[in-house]
């Protein structure tokens, strides 16, 4: 599709990095234009009119102009800035983790309505602050499903038997295996009945259903480990921001404090 020279879109800022003297490259997720990389000129200067609007974890409306190699941000305005999320280190880390996953799983330039609303829903959930870990699990499962990487959770990937009540989760195979087929499968870990139904709900359930889910700590941990192993397999390594979340968990200190 031929893009007009100037176009306007709503977007969530996923990440940014310095470019040249005072510019930044910002990675945006737009429902209509998908993931796009745009150049924001002069935003590292203190008096920039746009700098504050283009921080990661901000929902903006942006006016973009086609440039030579990539679009240039001509103007932007904040729609939602998630202040409570941004003032809490743990939830901030989680928000960045969600943005990193979106950045790494979504291709450039393909329409992304469902992924956009999944991310927005996650950020609003984190902003409210209730069950933040569940919000992340939901986002992981939804994003994998929407980007075509969703794990098979019904039938055994080897013998086709199913739907399985429990079994093993094998990241390399791409989903669940029945106990018999899991024998000798590299990286397969036992998957309890509770974790399997939680994973199914996270992937396919409505937001309302998922938000009512209350997982006991051991089960929540099991679900987290399975999803994380699967994501690490797809990304060929852990998500970078997952390391920071681990660091915060190891060092809870006086949690919830801000400067």
């Amino acid at each position: 599709m031929e893009q007009p020279r100037l176009f306007k879109t709503e977007a969530i800022v996923l990440r940014h990095r310095p470019l040249g003297e005072a510019d930044r490259l910002v990675v945006l997720l737009s429902p209509t234009h998908g993931k796009l990389e745009a150049k924001a000129k002069g935003v590292r200067r203190a008096k920039s009119r746009m700098g504050g609007h283009l921080q990661p974890l901000t929902r903006i409306v942006a006016q973009l102009a086609q440039g030579h190699s990539r679009p240039v941000v001509a103007g932007c305005q904040t729609l939602e800035s998630f202040p409570s999320l941004q003032a809490d280190l743990d939830r901030l880390g989680m928000g960045l983790y969600a943005c990193e996953l979106a950045d790494r799983f979504l291709p450039l330039g393909a329409e992304a309505y469902p992924a956009y609303s999944a991310l927005l829903e996650t950020l609003r959930w984190l902003e409210r602050g209730t069950t933040p870990a569940l919000a992340l699990r939901r986002f992981e499962a939804r994003l994998l499903h929407l980007s075509g990487f969703g794990p098979e959770l019904e039938r055994c990937l080897s013998c086709g038997r199913g739907p399985l009540p429990r079994g093993a989760f094998a990241p390399l195979a791409g989903g669940v295996l029945c106990p018999a087929c899991a024998q000798g499968q590299a990286g397969a870990r036992p998957l309890s009945a509770g974790a399997l139904s939680a994973l199914r709900l996270l992937q396919r359930g409505t937001t309302g259903e998922v938000s009512r889910l209350r997982l006991p700590p051991a089960l929540a941990r099991e679900v987290e480990l399975h999803l994380r192993a699967y994501i690490a397999h797809l990304l060929e390594g852990d998500a970078r921001s997952a390391g920071f979340l681990d660091h915060l968990q190891r060092q809870p200190l006086a949690a919830g404090q801000e400067v």
């Binding site: 746009m50 800035s81 941004q86 901030l92 400067v259």
Partner: protein, 202 residues
């Protein structure tokens, strides 16, 4: 590099070396290289020697981690400066910026970066351990966190606050709000909210 195809040997190498510098594009690299070639040999030698000398003699101060040619650096060894106050900054250039204001008489601590989870930069990649070591003496009463008012700067500030508060040190953050000469009309929500929070009696 295409542009240097016309230049060969040492000239091409010089252009390429300039091109590696931050903010220097292929055209600027060519201009700089030809400037050096046209300049008197003494000037070129002075430039080369200045680069080598700086690179060989400048190290990190063992206390504040700022760039220095004497250890401890001039800030850390200045008896006039207030030792109960440490201003934590991201980069050595930020020390110069704070110093330019002429209002700060304490010591500095340079982190050499900022927590950026998405780039895989965590607290262990910064000079945080060195900062903790400095606080153990009990001489420091206040740590002013002067990281940039960006998402990463805020994350670093919150992390430091969590880490340092239990040590009984006062942790403060530079005020955030509107810069001189700015337009309120164009300011983002967070900046205006913080400017309101930090308002002062006239």
């Amino acid at each position: 590099m295409q542009e240097s195809a016309a230049a060969v040997g040492p000239v091409a190498r010089l252009i390429e070396e300039f091109h590696k510098l931050p903010g220097i594009g292929p055209k600027s690299a060519q201009r700089l290289a030809y400037h050096v070639l046209r300049a008197p040999i003494a000037e070129a030698r002075a430039l080369a020697e200045a680069i080598l000398e700086a690179r060989e003699r400048v190290t990190l101060c063992s206390r504040c981690q700022h760039l220095t040619d004497v250890d401890p650096c001039r800030f850390c060894s200045d008896p006039q400066r207030d030792r109960s106050l440490i201003c934590v900054v991201e980069e050595p250039l930020d020390v110069l910026a704070v110093e330019r204001s002429g209002r700060f008489r304490g010591l500095y601590h340079v982190l050499h970066g900022v927590i950026s989870p998405m780039d895989g930069v965590g607290p262990e990649d910064l000079k945080v351990g060195e900062l903790l070591d400095r606080l153990r003496s009990g001489e420091v009463k206040e740590v002013i966190v002067a990281t940039n008012p960006s998402l990463e700067g805020e994350a670093t500030a919150m992390y430091l606050a969590r880490l340092l508060r239990p040590l009984g040190v006062r942790v403060t953050r530079l005020a955030r709000g509107l810069p001189m000469g700015a337009d309120i009309e164009y300011a983002d929500d967070i900046t205006i909210a913080r400017a309101l929070e930090g308002r002062q009696e006239l």
